[in-house]
């Protein structure tokens, strides 16, 4: 599905080159829910952006659905959810969700149908005609997810979509996202800096560390596919969380040495 082979990515800045990714290799299979976790500066967002063709790797090979990331972008094979909902204030919720469909030239009837479908999916029915400022932060982010789902991309890339929300809303949206993933069977890449979030959501957890950004551990989650929030108190959950924490710590020790 997504294959990353020894990718390096260096940014040229005024203070000289900064290596954001070093020798990163990874395989994401169809239907995976992959979380990227690590401290800021570990390149998790950069990796996601490279998969989305928003950044260009300096070297290495990246392929999405068997094509280059840019080809995949052009044929709209992924939906991207950013940190901020980024809804257009002059469009209603429905209008915002319709935006990518307008850009992609869907027919009117199909646009309406798809908007209706994804609004139901993210449980925003009744809010179609509201403007973004009339919604809470959590609802805005749900609208933003609906927008990324509106066209049938089978990959969903999410860059800390719930980072700005409080924990209660976040828990709820995590549950909803998991349901959504099961319903739509999409492949999801999810950037986060919350360990419980990563462990709760993922089938695969990619632990990263900074300077230079690299992968320190990849954990295949043994948790069952059907999860409820209570699973976070289970032994397996705590064990995986521990392993993630150790992976993060290992990255830091490297840095000190």
């Amino acid at each position: 599905m997504i294959s990353v082979q020894s990718v390096d990515l260096t940014f040229e800045t005024n203070d000289g080159p900064v290596q954001a990714l070093k020798d990163v290799s990874l395989d994401v299979k169809q239907g995976d829910f992959v979380s990227f976790i690590g401290p800021s500066g570990c390149g998790k967002t950069t990796l996601l952006r490279a998969i989305a063709a928003l950044e260009n790797p300096t070297s290495g090979k990246l392929s999405v659905n068997g094509r280059t990331p840019d080809e995949a972008r052009r044929s709209r094979e992924y939906g991207y959810v950013f940190q901020a909902a980024g809804l257009y204030p002059w469009r209603t919720v429905a209008g915002n969700i319709k935006l990518p469909l307008e850009i992609m030239g869907y027919l009117k009837a199909e646009k309406e149908e798809r908007v209706k479908k994804v609004i139901e999916l993210v449980e925003l029915t009744g809010f179609e005609r509201k403007f973004p400022w009339q919604l809470s932060g959590g609802m805005q982010q749900r609208a933003s997810i609906a927008r990324a789902l509106a066209f049938d991309a089978n990959i969903l890339l999410m860059d800390e979509p719930f980072g700005a929300l409080d924990e209660i809303v976040r828990d709820r949206l995590n549950g909803e996202l998991l349901n959504l993933w099961k319903q739509t069977k999409k492949t999801i890449c999810f950037v986060t800096h919350s360990i419980p979030e990563a462990v709760f959501l993922s089938t695969k957890i990619v632990v990263m560390s900074p300077r230079p950004g690299r992968i320190t551990d990849v954990i295949e989650s043994p948790l069952p596919e059907n999860r409820t929030l209570e699973i976070r108190d289970s032994k397996e959950f705590i064990k995986i969380a521990q392993r993630v924490r150790e992976g993060l710590k290992a990255g830091h020790t490297d840095e000190i040495l």
Binding site: R73, F82, Y88, P89, T92, L99, I103
Partner: protein, 295 residues
């Protein structure tokens, strides 16, 4: 009824007291300054006046150095309401001539401003090269350029509205360029990246994101632009031989020492400018409310 409600609101908000206070202060200052400024002429014309008679004469001279507000208002009422609007002595006639050139120049300037802004935002070479020229264009005094434009255009047989409109355009395109460049660049990186993930064409990026984002900036520019347009139209009337328009009226006033005429033309111009800005403000509020940008 509605009008009275509005008035009541105005009073109850306490808005009216500061306004009246400022107006009263200006009035007191104006009338008191008018006495010494006009007293020389009073003394020359009349002998043996008591002090109060002297003051009254100073406030009501036919050709005063400084006309008083009531003289200007009387003149304005007379030349606006009691002259046929086709008459050369009607302020409505002169105001309309100036307004025509103002609006034509404003429309041209807005189009030019938006076009330049689009170029600057979309083309790297234009981004680097155009802005310095745009700024340089505004450092040249309009009074120096206006006669040249009039003369050059006259020599190729273009007279009347167009040369004045060009001068208006010259002044009004500037705020539009500056505002629109800022407005078109106002979408944040996330919004632009988002468009990229949908593989939007540059045209879609412009129409669906950049242009709607720039609307509040556009209106701010238009308000400055239309006032500048009016100044341009008036300046454009000065070197053209003072035939018609508010600028011509001011010039004619200075030729013949008709200070009241100058001041009434000046007040008309100010009134016109304020009205135009208010109209744009109303259009702005309606548009932005419709776009749900203000609520």
């Amino acid at each position: 009824m509605k009008f009275f409600n509005m008035l009541r609101k105005l009073f109850s908000n306490g808005n009216i007291i500061p306004i009246v206070t400022v107006l009263a202060a200006i009035g007191v200052f104006w009338y008191s300054v008018a006495i010494p400024m006009n007293s020389e002429r009073v003394a020359r014309k009349f002998k043996d006046l008591t002090a109060s008679e002297h003051v009254l004469k100073a406030w009501n001279l036919e050709k005063p150095k400084l006309p008083t507000p009531h003289q200007i208002i009387t003149e304005m009422v007379e030349t606006v309401f009691f002259k046929k609007i086709t008459s050369k002595r009607s302020l409505v006639y002169h105001g309309w001539i100036t307004l025509e050139a103002t609006l034509a120049g404003f429309i041209l300037g807005t189009i030019l401003g938006i076009a330049l802004a689009l170029g600057i935002v979309h083309n790297r070479a234009m981004n680097l090269s155009v802005m310095p020229w745009v700024i340089a264009s505004q450092t040249i005094p309009i009074l120096a350029i206006a006669p040249m434009i009039i003369v050059v255009m006259n020599s190729v047989g273009i007279t009347g509205l167009l040369p004045k409109a060009i001068i208006s355009m010259y002044l009004s395109f500037f705020p539009v360029v500056v505002g629109m460049v800022k407005g078109l660049r106002s979408p944040d990186q996330i919004q632009i990246d988002q468009m990229k993930t949908w593989s939007a064409t540059p045209r879609q990026l412009l129409w669906k994101l950049r242009f709607p984002s720039s609307v509040p900036y556009l209106f701010a520019s238009l308000k400055v632009g239309i006032a500048a347009s009016l100044v341009g139209a008036i300046v454009g009337e000065l070197p053209s031989g003072a035939i018609a328009g508010l600028g011509a009226r001011m010039l004619a006033g200075t030729y013949y020492g008709q200070t009241i005429m100058i001041w009434s033309a000046l007040f008309s111009a100010a009134f016109l400018a304020a009205s135009l800005v208010i109209i744009i403000n109303i259009i702005q509020n309606i548009t932005l409310r419709k776009m749900a940008i203000i609520r």
